[in-house]
């Protein structure tokens, strides 16, 4: 569960719903998919609800670009 990312989870969730819609599954398979789907939908919703956008600014140092947290124009967090 720790390795889940949003894109993968969302795509897997869509895939599960499609698979179920096509039918032809035995009970055990569909119960497994159902459980996975519920887990994924909870994960995706949580991820979206908790997300706070991270903004970096790339600063060049000796030819290498480094990410620095971006605080917005006035040193404040950008208005979100």
């Amino acid at each position: 569960m720790n390795e889940m990312n949003f894109e993968g989870s969302m795509k897997r969730l869509e895939e599960i719903v499609n698979t179920l819609q096509q039918g032809n599954l035995n009970l055990e398979e569909s119960v497994n998919l159902f459980e996975e789907g519920i887990r994924l939908s909870n994960f995706c919703r949580e991820a979206l609800m908790k997300a706070r956008m991270k903004v970096n600014i790339l600063i060049e140092e000796n030819g290498i670009f480094k990410e620095m947290g971006y605080e917005g124009e006035n040193g404040e967090k950008p208005q979100l």
Partner: protein, 403 residues
Amino acid sequence: MRIKTLSVSEVNGYIKKIFAGDLILNNLSVRGEISNLRLVTQRNAYFFSLKDSYSSIQCVMYLNAMESLNFIPADGMEITAHGKVALYEKNGSYSLNIDSMEPYGVGAYYIAFNTLKRKLETEGLFDRAHKRSIPQYPEKIGVITSINGAAVHDIIKVLSGRYPYVEVDILPITVQGDKAADEICRAFNAMNNMDDIDLIILARGGGSVEDLWPFNEEKVARAIYASRCPVISAVGHETDFTISDFVADARAATPTEAAAMAVPDRNALMENIEQYKTYLVRYMEDTIIRGERHLEFIVKSSPLSRPEMFFEKYDGKLNQLKQLLAYHMAQYINRKQMETQLLEKQLQTLNPLDVLKRGFAIIYSKDKGLISDAGKVQVNDEIMVRLHNGLINCRVEEVSGIE
């Protein structure tokens, strides 16, 4: 004083010499508007006039010089022409013999734009087939824009409002002036070298044609084309089109729109997720209900509901076996009866009493002892003769032996 009288040819020849020897007339740069442009094929040249508000001058440009132009001249176009002035001796007219020219002023941008656009289009840089699709759920978006403009602010606002799950890397650049194009190219290089960026937004707010010019430069176009990540171009306002827009994988009318194109909308996603979840739950409920019905059907239609069905086939078999058993039993009895009858018959032939029927008799003494020896009988003994159907009491009168 008398001056020498010259022929017309001599005059024109003289003027031609003066023109030919003049430094300025042999290396001229002239600005003017093209008019009355025409091709004269017999002479392999275009003829036209260059004019300003007061004067005009005849111009000729040969086709071989024309081929090196990066734009197509047309009437009304303001140009700067380079060439020399030469006299046509036959009629004493002079003309500007042009070896090169370029568009002048705002028109120049327009022309350069169209020329580059045609060139890149021919090369296939705008081909649909080359356009990459914008990732559905980008994880990290690179934004190449000015750090000071409204564009960056708009983009951050929209991205965080729609899809805060995404991470944003801003690479600040100068968006106008001579350095801009090179900075944009460097930015593309830097972002494509960061392996976690999966989409690039190239953005700039509105501005004059000159301001937007870096986004019409060939090297920027090629940097976009070569980009590893898909690129959304959002330069200027709705009505501004730049070469960057044509090369990019997607064109947004404004930076705000670019941000909206780049990410899905959180609320719509939430709704989708809820719908998926609802579907999953309903699916499971349906599955359970269907399963229950199926089970019910099985229970109703199977031997479980009529257990005797289990035994029916055994019943038949049992009956069959019973009949078979009865049959074989009867057969056995018959056979045994016949055997008994036979034995009885055989036994009967051995019954001594049977012999009596054939006229034999058994003789008993008075005390019922069987007499089989004449020697044991004496005269006057009472004996009993048994025939098959009766007894005769007798008295012995004589006993004699038989030889």
